[in-house]
Symmetry: C2
Subunit: 220 residues, 2 copies
Protein backbone atom coordinates (compact mmCIF):
# COMPACT_ATOMS: atom_id res chain seq x y z
CA UNK A 1 0.00 0.00 0.00
CA UNK A 2 1.35 3.43 -0.96
CA UNK A 3 0.23 6.59 0.74
CA UNK A 4 0.13 9.66 -1.45
CA UNK A 5 2.08 12.73 -0.33
CA UNK A 6 -1.19 14.59 0.09
CA UNK A 7 -2.27 12.10 2.75
CA UNK A 8 1.01 12.33 4.63
CA UNK A 9 0.97 16.12 4.71
CA UNK A 10 -0.48 17.94 7.69
CA UNK A 11 -3.79 19.69 6.97
CA UNK A 12 -3.52 23.44 6.39
CA UNK A 13 -6.11 25.72 7.96
CA UNK A 14 -6.60 29.06 6.25
CA UNK A 15 -8.36 31.00 8.98
CA UNK A 16 -8.53 34.12 11.10
CA UNK A 17 -8.03 34.24 14.86
CA UNK A 18 -11.38 35.91 15.57
CA UNK A 19 -13.54 34.15 12.97
CA UNK A 20 -16.01 31.93 14.83
CA UNK A 21 -16.13 29.46 11.93
CA UNK A 22 -12.32 29.16 11.97
CA UNK A 23 -12.43 28.59 15.72
CA UNK A 24 -14.92 25.74 15.21
CA UNK A 25 -12.42 23.95 13.00
CA UNK A 26 -9.54 24.58 15.43
CA UNK A 27 -11.60 23.03 18.26
CA UNK A 28 -12.35 19.96 16.13
CA UNK A 29 -8.65 19.47 15.26
CA UNK A 30 -7.73 19.86 18.95
CA UNK A 31 -10.41 17.43 20.17
CA UNK A 32 -9.31 14.82 17.62
CA UNK A 33 -5.62 15.43 18.35
CA UNK A 34 -4.86 16.25 14.70
CA UNK A 35 -1.75 18.34 14.04
CA UNK A 36 -2.22 21.03 11.43
CA UNK A 37 -0.58 24.15 10.05
CA UNK A 38 -2.22 27.57 10.08
CA UNK A 39 -1.99 30.11 7.27
CA UNK A 40 -3.68 33.24 8.63
CA UNK A 41 -5.96 35.26 6.34
CA UNK A 42 -6.43 38.76 7.75
CA UNK A 43 -10.07 39.73 7.09
CA UNK A 44 -9.42 43.42 7.82
CA UNK A 45 -5.87 44.24 6.59
CA UNK A 46 -5.33 45.37 2.98
CA UNK A 47 -9.11 45.66 2.59
CA UNK A 48 -9.46 41.95 3.41
CA UNK A 49 -6.97 39.29 2.33
CA UNK A 50 -9.86 36.88 1.66
CA UNK A 51 -10.70 39.00 -1.37
CA UNK A 52 -7.46 38.28 -3.28
CA UNK A 53 -7.59 36.17 -6.47
CA UNK A 54 -5.20 33.72 -4.83
CA UNK A 55 -7.54 33.08 -1.91
CA UNK A 56 -10.61 33.06 -4.15
CA UNK A 57 -9.11 30.07 -5.95
CA UNK A 58 -9.02 28.26 -2.61
CA UNK A 59 -12.47 29.29 -1.44
CA UNK A 60 -14.68 30.97 -4.05
CA UNK A 61 -16.95 32.24 -1.22
CA UNK A 62 -13.98 34.39 -0.10
CA UNK A 63 -14.58 33.51 3.53
CA UNK A 64 -12.61 31.66 6.15
CA UNK A 65 -12.04 28.90 6.93
CA UNK A 66 -10.71 26.88 4.03
CA UNK A 67 -8.88 23.66 4.79
CA UNK A 68 -6.45 21.76 2.57
CA UNK A 69 -6.65 18.16 3.67
CA UNK A 70 -5.92 14.77 2.08
CA UNK A 71 -5.48 16.37 -1.35
CA UNK A 72 -8.77 18.29 -1.42
CA UNK A 73 -9.77 21.78 -0.33
CA UNK A 74 -12.87 22.13 1.80
CA UNK A 75 -14.75 25.16 2.98
CA UNK A 76 -17.83 25.36 5.24
CA UNK A 77 -16.82 24.53 8.80
CA UNK A 78 -19.43 21.86 9.53
CA UNK A 79 -18.46 19.95 6.40
CA UNK A 80 -14.82 20.13 7.50
CA UNK A 81 -15.61 19.02 11.07
CA UNK A 82 -17.65 16.02 9.92
CA UNK A 83 -14.91 15.07 7.43
CA UNK A 84 -12.30 15.17 10.20
CA UNK A 85 -14.63 13.12 12.40
CA UNK A 86 -15.22 10.49 9.73
CA UNK A 87 -11.56 10.09 8.72
CA UNK A 88 -9.56 10.52 11.96
CA UNK A 89 -9.39 8.42 15.12
CA UNK A 90 -10.11 9.93 18.51
CA UNK A 91 -13.34 10.88 20.29
CA UNK A 92 -16.43 10.99 18.08
CA UNK A 93 -17.77 14.48 17.44
CA UNK A 94 -21.22 13.10 16.63
CA UNK A 95 -22.95 10.49 18.80
CA UNK A 96 -23.72 7.02 17.46
CA UNK A 97 -27.47 7.16 18.18
CA UNK A 98 -29.34 8.63 15.16
CA UNK A 99 -31.72 10.74 17.28
CA UNK A 100 -28.87 12.23 19.29
CA UNK A 101 -26.92 12.83 16.03
CA UNK A 102 -29.95 14.65 14.65
CA UNK A 103 -30.15 16.83 17.77
CA UNK A 104 -26.44 17.64 17.48
CA UNK A 105 -26.92 18.63 13.85
CA UNK A 106 -30.08 20.62 14.67
CA UNK A 107 -28.27 22.68 17.31
CA UNK A 108 -25.19 23.08 15.09
CA UNK A 109 -27.32 24.26 12.15
CA UNK A 110 -29.42 26.57 14.32
CA UNK A 111 -26.15 28.38 15.06
CA UNK A 112 -24.43 27.91 11.68
CA UNK A 113 -27.45 28.79 9.52
CA UNK A 114 -29.76 30.61 11.93
CA UNK A 115 -27.42 32.96 13.79
CA UNK A 116 -23.84 33.22 12.52
CA UNK A 117 -24.56 34.17 8.87
CA UNK A 118 -26.51 37.22 10.05
CA UNK A 119 -23.66 38.67 12.06
CA UNK A 120 -20.94 37.65 9.63
CA UNK A 121 -18.44 40.36 8.69
CA UNK A 122 -19.61 40.76 5.08
CA UNK A 123 -23.21 41.23 6.22
CA UNK A 124 -22.61 43.69 9.03
CA UNK A 125 -20.26 45.67 6.80
CA UNK A 126 -23.42 46.47 4.81
CA UNK A 127 -25.29 47.63 7.93
CA UNK A 128 -23.06 50.61 8.77
CA UNK A 129 -24.01 52.34 12.02
CA UNK A 130 -26.75 49.82 12.75
CA UNK A 131 -24.38 46.87 12.90
CA UNK A 132 -24.36 46.48 16.70
CA UNK A 133 -28.17 46.60 16.96
CA UNK A 134 -28.60 44.26 13.96
CA UNK A 135 -26.17 41.68 15.35
CA UNK A 136 -27.70 41.80 18.83
CA UNK A 137 -31.17 41.31 17.36
CA UNK A 138 -30.27 38.15 15.46
CA UNK A 139 -28.08 36.66 18.19
CA UNK A 140 -30.84 37.22 20.78
CA UNK A 141 -33.41 35.78 18.40
CA UNK A 142 -31.29 32.64 18.00
CA UNK A 143 -30.40 32.29 21.67
CA UNK A 144 -34.06 32.65 22.67
CA UNK A 145 -34.70 29.54 20.56
CA UNK A 146 -31.55 27.72 21.57
CA UNK A 147 -32.09 28.10 25.33
CA UNK A 148 -35.29 25.96 25.54
CA UNK A 149 -33.87 23.40 23.08
CA UNK A 150 -30.70 22.99 25.16
CA UNK A 151 -32.77 22.70 28.34
CA UNK A 152 -34.22 19.54 26.80
CA UNK A 153 -31.10 18.06 25.20
CA UNK A 154 -28.25 19.05 27.52
CA UNK A 155 -26.52 17.02 30.15
CA UNK A 156 -23.03 18.08 31.01
CA UNK A 157 -22.72 19.37 27.43
CA UNK A 158 -25.14 20.41 24.66
CA UNK A 159 -26.46 16.92 23.92
CA UNK A 160 -26.05 14.56 26.86
CA UNK A 161 -22.70 14.15 28.56
CA UNK A 162 -20.37 13.82 25.56
CA UNK A 163 -18.74 16.71 23.72
CA UNK A 164 -20.08 17.04 20.18
CA UNK A 165 -20.19 19.31 17.14
CA UNK A 166 -22.99 21.24 18.88
CA UNK A 167 -20.53 22.30 21.60
CA UNK A 168 -17.99 23.20 18.94
CA UNK A 169 -20.55 25.61 17.46
CA UNK A 170 -21.83 26.97 20.78
CA UNK A 171 -18.65 28.35 22.32
CA UNK A 172 -17.54 30.55 19.38
CA UNK A 173 -21.11 31.86 19.05
CA UNK A 174 -21.15 32.89 22.72
CA UNK A 175 -17.78 34.58 22.15
CA UNK A 176 -19.40 36.57 19.32
CA UNK A 177 -22.41 37.38 21.50
CA UNK A 178 -20.11 38.82 24.13
CA UNK A 179 -18.30 40.91 21.50
CA UNK A 180 -21.69 42.32 20.50
CA UNK A 181 -22.59 42.92 24.18
CA UNK A 182 -25.51 40.50 24.33
CA UNK A 183 -26.76 40.04 27.92
CA UNK A 184 -25.92 36.39 28.57
CA UNK A 185 -27.76 36.46 31.92
CA UNK A 186 -30.97 35.80 29.95
CA UNK A 187 -29.63 32.41 28.80
CA UNK A 188 -28.61 30.41 31.89
CA UNK A 189 -28.31 27.06 30.10
CA UNK A 190 -26.16 28.46 27.29
CA UNK A 191 -24.04 30.29 29.89
CA UNK A 192 -23.54 27.15 32.01
CA UNK A 193 -22.58 25.02 29.01
CA UNK A 194 -20.19 27.66 27.68
CA UNK A 195 -18.44 27.91 31.04
CA UNK A 196 -18.10 24.12 31.34
CA UNK A 197 -16.70 23.87 27.81
CA UNK A 198 -14.17 26.66 28.31
CA UNK A 199 -12.60 24.50 31.05
CA UNK A 200 -11.57 21.96 28.40
CA UNK A 201 -8.09 22.19 26.90
CA UNK A 202 -9.21 21.81 23.27
CA UNK A 203 -11.39 24.90 23.65
CA UNK A 204 -8.56 26.81 25.36
CA UNK A 205 -5.70 26.11 22.93
CA UNK A 206 -7.97 26.99 19.99
CA UNK A 207 -9.20 30.25 21.56
CA UNK A 208 -8.93 33.47 19.49
CA UNK A 209 -6.66 34.96 22.14
CA UNK A 210 -4.00 32.29 21.54
CA UNK A 211 -3.51 32.02 17.78
CA UNK A 212 -0.45 32.82 15.64
CA UNK A 213 -2.26 35.83 14.15
CA UNK A 214 -3.72 37.16 17.42
CA UNK A 215 -2.65 40.80 17.81
CA UNK A 216 -0.55 41.45 20.91
CA UNK A 217 -3.19 43.59 22.63
CA UNK A 218 -5.76 40.76 22.42
CA UNK A 219 -3.37 37.99 23.40
CA UNK A 220 -4.09 36.03 26.58
CA UNK B 1 -39.92 -6.91 19.71
CA UNK B 2 -42.49 -4.19 20.24
CA UNK B 3 -42.64 -1.08 18.13
CA UNK B 4 -43.77 2.08 19.89
CA UNK B 5 -46.71 3.98 18.44
CA UNK B 6 -44.41 6.89 17.70
CA UNK B 7 -42.38 4.69 15.35
CA UNK B 8 -45.46 3.40 13.58
CA UNK B 9 -46.88 6.87 13.03
CA UNK B 10 -46.18 8.69 9.78
CA UNK B 11 -43.85 11.68 10.16
CA UNK B 12 -45.61 15.05 10.20
CA UNK B 13 -44.07 17.92 8.25
CA UNK B 14 -45.00 21.40 9.46
CA UNK B 15 -44.05 23.45 6.42
CA UNK B 16 -45.06 26.05 3.88
CA UNK B 17 -45.46 25.43 0.16
CA UNK B 18 -43.02 28.16 -0.88
CA UNK B 19 -40.40 27.78 1.88
CA UNK B 20 -37.22 26.48 0.29
CA UNK B 21 -36.22 24.68 3.51
CA UNK B 22 -39.60 22.91 3.62
CA UNK B 23 -39.16 21.91 -0.01
CA UNK B 24 -35.77 20.37 0.81
CA UNK B 25 -37.43 18.06 3.34
CA UNK B 26 -40.25 17.18 0.91
CA UNK B 27 -37.67 16.18 -1.71
CA UNK B 28 -35.84 13.97 0.81
CA UNK B 29 -39.06 12.21 1.84
CA UNK B 30 -39.94 11.68 -1.82
CA UNK B 31 -36.49 10.34 -2.78
CA UNK B 32 -36.55 7.90 0.15
CA UNK B 33 -40.16 6.90 -0.56
CA UNK B 34 -41.29 7.87 2.96
CA UNK B 35 -44.99 8.64 3.40
CA UNK B 36 -45.69 11.65 5.59
CA UNK B 37 -48.49 14.03 6.55
CA UNK B 38 -48.31 17.76 6.00
CA UNK B 39 -49.62 20.38 8.43
CA UNK B 40 -49.23 23.70 6.59
CA UNK B 41 -48.01 26.75 8.50
CA UNK B 42 -48.91 29.92 6.60
CA UNK B 43 -45.99 32.32 7.01
CA UNK B 44 -48.01 35.32 5.79
CA UNK B 45 -51.62 34.83 6.98
CA UNK B 46 -52.67 36.17 10.42
CA UNK B 47 -49.31 37.97 10.66
CA UNK B 48 -47.51 34.63 10.35
CA UNK B 49 -48.80 31.38 11.86
CA UNK B 50 -45.21 30.41 12.80
CA UNK B 51 -45.37 33.12 15.48
CA UNK B 52 -48.12 31.45 17.57
CA UNK B 53 -47.24 30.06 21.01
CA UNK B 54 -48.45 26.66 19.80
CA UNK B 55 -45.95 26.59 16.93
CA UNK B 56 -43.18 28.09 19.06
CA UNK B 57 -43.44 25.04 21.35
CA UNK B 58 -42.75 22.89 18.30
CA UNK B 59 -39.92 25.00 16.89
CA UNK B 60 -38.61 27.77 19.14
CA UNK B 61 -36.95 29.40 16.08
CA UNK B 62 -40.49 30.04 14.76
CA UNK B 63 -39.48 28.94 11.30
CA UNK B 64 -40.50 26.13 9.00
CA UNK B 65 -39.92 23.28 8.64
CA UNK B 66 -40.43 21.33 11.85
CA UNK B 67 -40.81 17.58 11.59
CA UNK B 68 -42.36 15.23 14.14
CA UNK B 69 -40.72 11.86 13.55
CA UNK B 70 -40.11 8.73 15.64
CA UNK B 71 -41.24 10.49 18.82
CA UNK B 72 -38.99 13.55 18.52
CA UNK B 73 -39.41 16.96 16.90
CA UNK B 74 -36.63 18.20 14.66
CA UNK B 75 -36.06 21.52 13.00
CA UNK B 76 -33.23 22.60 10.64
CA UNK B 77 -33.75 20.94 7.28
CA UNK B 78 -30.26 19.42 6.85
CA UNK B 79 -30.50 17.75 10.27
CA UNK B 80 -33.89 16.33 9.25
CA UNK B 81 -32.62 15.13 5.86
CA UNK B 82 -29.60 13.36 7.35
CA UNK B 83 -31.81 11.78 10.04
CA UNK B 84 -34.16 10.46 7.36
CA UNK B 85 -31.16 9.19 5.41
CA UNK B 86 -29.65 7.41 8.41
CA UNK B 87 -32.90 5.76 9.56
CA UNK B 88 -34.80 4.92 6.36
CA UNK B 89 -34.04 2.50 3.54
CA UNK B 90 -33.87 3.66 -0.06
CA UNK B 91 -31.23 5.52 -2.06
CA UNK B 92 -28.49 7.16 0.03
CA UNK B 93 -28.65 10.95 0.12
CA UNK B 94 -24.97 11.15 1.03
CA UNK B 95 -22.28 9.16 -0.80
CA UNK B 96 -20.24 6.47 1.00
CA UNK B 97 -16.84 8.00 0.16
CA UNK B 98 -15.77 10.50 2.88
CA UNK B 99 -14.37 13.04 0.40
CA UNK B 100 -17.51 13.00 -1.71
CA UNK B 101 -19.63 13.23 1.49
CA UNK B 102 -17.61 16.29 2.51
CA UNK B 103 -18.20 17.89 -0.89
CA UNK B 104 -21.94 17.21 -0.62
CA UNK B 105 -22.00 18.83 2.83
CA UNK B 106 -19.85 21.76 1.65
CA UNK B 107 -22.25 22.53 -1.21
CA UNK B 108 -25.30 22.01 1.02
CA UNK B 109 -23.90 24.34 3.69
CA UNK B 110 -22.80 26.93 1.16
CA UNK B 111 -26.49 27.20 0.27
CA UNK B 112 -28.00 26.58 3.72
CA UNK B 113 -25.64 28.88 5.65
CA UNK B 114 -24.16 31.09 2.93
CA UNK B 115 -27.18 32.04 0.85
CA UNK B 116 -30.61 31.06 2.15
CA UNK B 117 -30.42 32.73 5.61
CA UNK B 118 -29.78 36.10 3.96
CA UNK B 119 -32.93 36.00 1.85
CA UNK B 120 -35.09 34.35 4.47
CA UNK B 121 -38.50 35.96 5.09
CA UNK B 122 -37.67 37.28 8.58
CA UNK B 123 -34.52 38.98 7.27
CA UNK B 124 -35.95 40.58 4.16
CA UNK B 125 -38.96 41.78 6.16
CA UNK B 126 -36.42 44.03 7.92
CA UNK B 127 -35.08 45.35 4.60
CA UNK B 128 -38.26 47.09 3.41
CA UNK B 129 -38.00 48.57 -0.07
CA UNK B 130 -34.46 47.26 -0.52
CA UNK B 131 -35.46 43.62 -0.18
CA UNK B 132 -35.22 42.73 -3.87
CA UNK B 133 -31.75 44.29 -4.26
CA UNK B 134 -30.52 42.77 -0.96
CA UNK B 135 -31.70 39.28 -1.91
CA UNK B 136 -30.26 39.48 -5.43
CA UNK B 137 -26.90 40.60 -4.00
CA UNK B 138 -26.55 37.65 -1.64
CA UNK B 139 -27.89 35.06 -4.07
CA UNK B 140 -25.50 36.28 -6.80
CA UNK B 141 -22.64 36.30 -4.31
CA UNK B 142 -23.37 32.68 -3.39
CA UNK B 143 -23.94 31.49 -6.95
CA UNK B 144 -20.68 33.12 -8.12
CA UNK B 145 -18.92 30.83 -5.59
CA UNK B 146 -21.09 27.80 -6.24
CA UNK B 147 -20.64 27.82 -10.03
CA UNK B 148 -16.83 27.10 -10.04
CA UNK B 149 -17.20 24.58 -7.19
CA UNK B 150 -19.90 22.66 -9.09
CA UNK B 151 -17.80 22.76 -12.27
CA UNK B 152 -15.26 20.67 -10.33
CA UNK B 153 -17.60 18.32 -8.44
CA UNK B 154 -20.53 17.78 -10.79
CA UNK B 155 -21.25 14.90 -13.05
CA UNK B 156 -24.86 14.35 -13.96
CA UNK B 157 -25.75 15.90 -10.58
CA UNK B 158 -24.01 18.22 -8.07
CA UNK B 159 -21.45 15.65 -6.89
CA UNK B 160 -20.81 12.93 -9.44
CA UNK B 161 -23.67 10.99 -10.96
CA UNK B 162 -25.77 10.21 -7.88
CA UNK B 163 -28.45 12.46 -6.44
CA UNK B 164 -27.46 13.79 -3.01
CA UNK B 165 -28.34 16.32 -0.33
CA UNK B 166 -26.49 18.93 -2.41
CA UNK B 167 -29.07 18.54 -5.18
CA UNK B 168 -31.85 18.74 -2.60
CA UNK B 169 -30.48 22.14 -1.56
CA UNK B 170 -29.75 23.41 -5.07
CA UNK B 171 -33.17 23.20 -6.70
CA UNK B 172 -35.13 25.17 -4.05
CA UNK B 173 -32.38 27.82 -4.03
CA UNK B 174 -32.65 28.25 -7.81
CA UNK B 175 -36.42 28.55 -7.39
CA UNK B 176 -35.80 31.40 -4.92
CA UNK B 177 -33.29 33.00 -7.28
CA UNK B 178 -35.91 33.01 -10.02
CA UNK B 179 -38.46 34.59 -7.66
CA UNK B 180 -35.92 37.34 -6.98
CA UNK B 181 -35.24 37.71 -10.74
CA UNK B 182 -31.59 36.65 -10.63
CA UNK B 183 -30.17 36.21 -14.15
CA UNK B 184 -29.48 32.46 -14.26
CA UNK B 185 -27.71 32.78 -17.63
CA UNK B 186 -24.57 33.72 -15.68
CA UNK B 187 -24.50 30.28 -14.02
CA UNK B 188 -24.54 27.62 -16.76
CA UNK B 189 -23.55 24.71 -14.49
CA UNK B 190 -26.17 25.55 -11.86
CA UNK B 191 -28.75 25.99 -14.61
CA UNK B 192 -27.92 22.66 -16.25
CA UNK B 193 -28.06 20.76 -12.95
CA UNK B 194 -31.32 22.41 -11.94
CA UNK B 195 -32.93 21.48 -15.25
CA UNK B 196 -31.75 17.86 -14.99
CA UNK B 197 -33.04 17.58 -11.42
CA UNK B 198 -36.45 19.03 -12.25
CA UNK B 199 -36.95 16.08 -14.60
CA UNK B 200 -36.98 13.74 -11.60
CA UNK B 201 -40.31 12.78 -10.06
CA UNK B 202 -39.24 13.40 -6.44
CA UNK B 203 -38.44 17.01 -7.31
CA UNK B 204 -41.73 17.40 -9.19
CA UNK B 205 -44.16 15.99 -6.61
CA UNK B 206 -42.52 18.09 -3.88
CA UNK B 207 -42.61 21.31 -5.93
CA UNK B 208 -44.18 24.43 -4.34
CA UNK B 209 -46.79 24.50 -7.12
CA UNK B 210 -48.22 21.11 -6.07
CA UNK B 211 -48.66 21.21 -2.29
CA UNK B 212 -51.85 21.05 -0.18
CA UNK B 213 -51.41 24.71 0.80
CA UNK B 214 -50.49 26.01 -2.68
CA UNK B 215 -52.89 28.86 -3.55
CA UNK B 216 -55.00 28.16 -6.65
CA UNK B 217 -53.33 30.91 -8.73
CA UNK B 218 -49.88 29.37 -8.19
CA UNK B 219 -50.95 25.76 -8.69
CA UNK B 220 -49.41 23.81 -11.57
Amino acid sequence: MRLSLACLAKPILHGYFRSSCSWRVRIAFALKGVEYDQLPVNLIKDGGQQLTEEYKALNPMQQVPAVEIDGITLSQSLAVIQYIDETRPGPHLLPADPKARAQVRMISDLIASGIQPLQNLYVIQKMGAEKMQWSQHFINRGFQALEPILKQTAGKYCVGDEISMADICLVPQVYNAERFKVDMGKYPTIKRLNEALLEIEAFQVSHPSRQPDTPDDLRA
